[in-house]
């Protein structure tokens, strides 16, 4: 069943209408989420207005991790079943994941200034987000450095899998490390006790980020498929004449 989705022809047909649909969804969700987050939700009794950074920061963190999981899964599918589309998806997902992780780091730093009184706190989650960001960058840099496209795809996939093994270890080591170095616990943002009035904008924004990812991913994949077709056509022409 999965194999039928792996057909690029079919993918191009489906994504042609799926992409504008996700784009419309993203616009609507961003409009709702941003207005809810900026105007129609209460300020935090401790953090004041700066709590609104959460609506930009937390979804970026969630989705950057999910995007890496997707990248690793796509790499696995590509290595095992050699579905080219999985490689196209992994390649297109990496810059978006890096951008989300980068956004999470920047907003985390901006949020840290008013709440923790510092631009950068070596908080466990910020630190493992930094490592995730570097993992994305390493993957992108490796693919960019390899001239042979087929090798770039497969070596990139191997590196992506190694990263998928490493990231949970990093997460736990950093968690352990920060409890060792910071016995006093820092202010926990919300947690599970988050108020419903903040839940609505947060989850709307999470949906908006997901829709935006879908649009960017599909656009990146379509561009990559067009690029590969153009290369193949150019090669064919060169051989023919």
């Amino acid at each position: 069943m999965i194999s039928s989705f792996a057909n690029p022809q079919k993918f191009m047909a489906i994504s042609a209408w799926l992409m504008p649909a996700f784009a419309a969804l993203a616009v609507v969700l961003f409009a709702i989420g941003v207005s809810l987050g900026l105007w129609f939700s209460p300020a935090d009794y401790q953090q004041g207005e700066s709590v609104r950074i959460m609506y930009v920061h937390v979804p970026a963190a969630w989705w950057s991790m999910a995007i890496y999981a997707m990248l690793a899964l796509a790499s696995f599918v590509f290595l095992v079943w050699r579905h080219t589309l999985a490689d196209v998806a992994a390649r297109a997902a990496a810059p978006i994941g890096a951008a989300y992780a980068g956004l999470c780091l920047v907003t985390g730093s901006l949020w840290g200034r008013p709440t923790w009184g510092t631009w950068w706190e070596w908080d466990a989650r910020l630190t493992s987000m930094l490592v995730l960001f570097l993992t994305f960058l390493g993957y992108i840099a490796l693919r960019a450095a390899l001239d042979d496209e087929d090798k770039a795809s497969r070596l990139g996939a191997i590196l992506a899998l190694a990263g998928a093994i490493n990231l949970p270890v990093v997460h736990f080591s950093v968690e352990w490390w920060s409890t060792l170095h910071q016995p006093s616990s820092i202010i926990r943002e919300g947690g599970s006790s988050i108020h419903p009035s903040m839940m609505a904008p947060l989850f709307t924004m999470a949906g908006a980020y997901a829709a935006a990812f879908a649009v960017l991913l599909l656009a990146g994949m379509r561009a990559e498929i067009y690029r590969r077709r153009a290369t193949a056509a150019a090669r064919k022409r060169a051989r023919g004449t």
């Binding site: 995730l132 570097l134 390493g138 042979d148 590196l159 990093v170 080591s173 352990w176 490390w177 060792l180």
Partner: protein
Amino acid sequence: MSPLSVIFGRELALAWKAGPAAPVGFFLGAAVLLPLAMGTDRALLEAAGPPLVWVAAALAALMTLERLFQADLEDGSLDQLFLADESVELIVAAKGAALWVAVGLPLALAGAPVAIALQTPIEGIPAVVAGLALGMAAFIGAGLVAAAVTASVKRAGVLIALIVLPFFAPPVVFGAAATGHFGAPFLLLTGCALGAVSVGPILAAAALRLQAE
């Protein structure tokens, strides 16, 4: 002689000829510069010493990676290695083991005088040396993968550094915390080393098969 012991011997000879002096010397040099930069405050050295020793060890391990497979790929000896009647995973593991013996062990032993100079109490020295030896195994295990995927990239130094940085994070965290005693961090460091040594050669072998195509 089995192919593996031949490969191990060849790699060991090559690593010795290239000289463990470069990474170990780098490590010692960093350790000498440390007190010069930080001053001689005993308490400060005692606190900041072990973390900085681990940073120096990680960077020294990084130095060895760039040419690890690249030289073999360029002169064709990688293809010859694959002709051996032995699985590629074990060949890669033998290469890693040789690198560990040639560079990892001397560096771990060099950790003893460095730790003494940085005011680590004398009874903590065995744990420092054992920790560095394990840490070098973890670095090399992860480094095999990074070296294998970048084997065909020219001047891959910066790229390798970027790729291995996330993999070096857990051993550095546990290693710097383990310094001086065989406690929980030491066991976690051992876990990191075992994980890297067992998974690294498998992924590196998969990458090298592609490189040799």
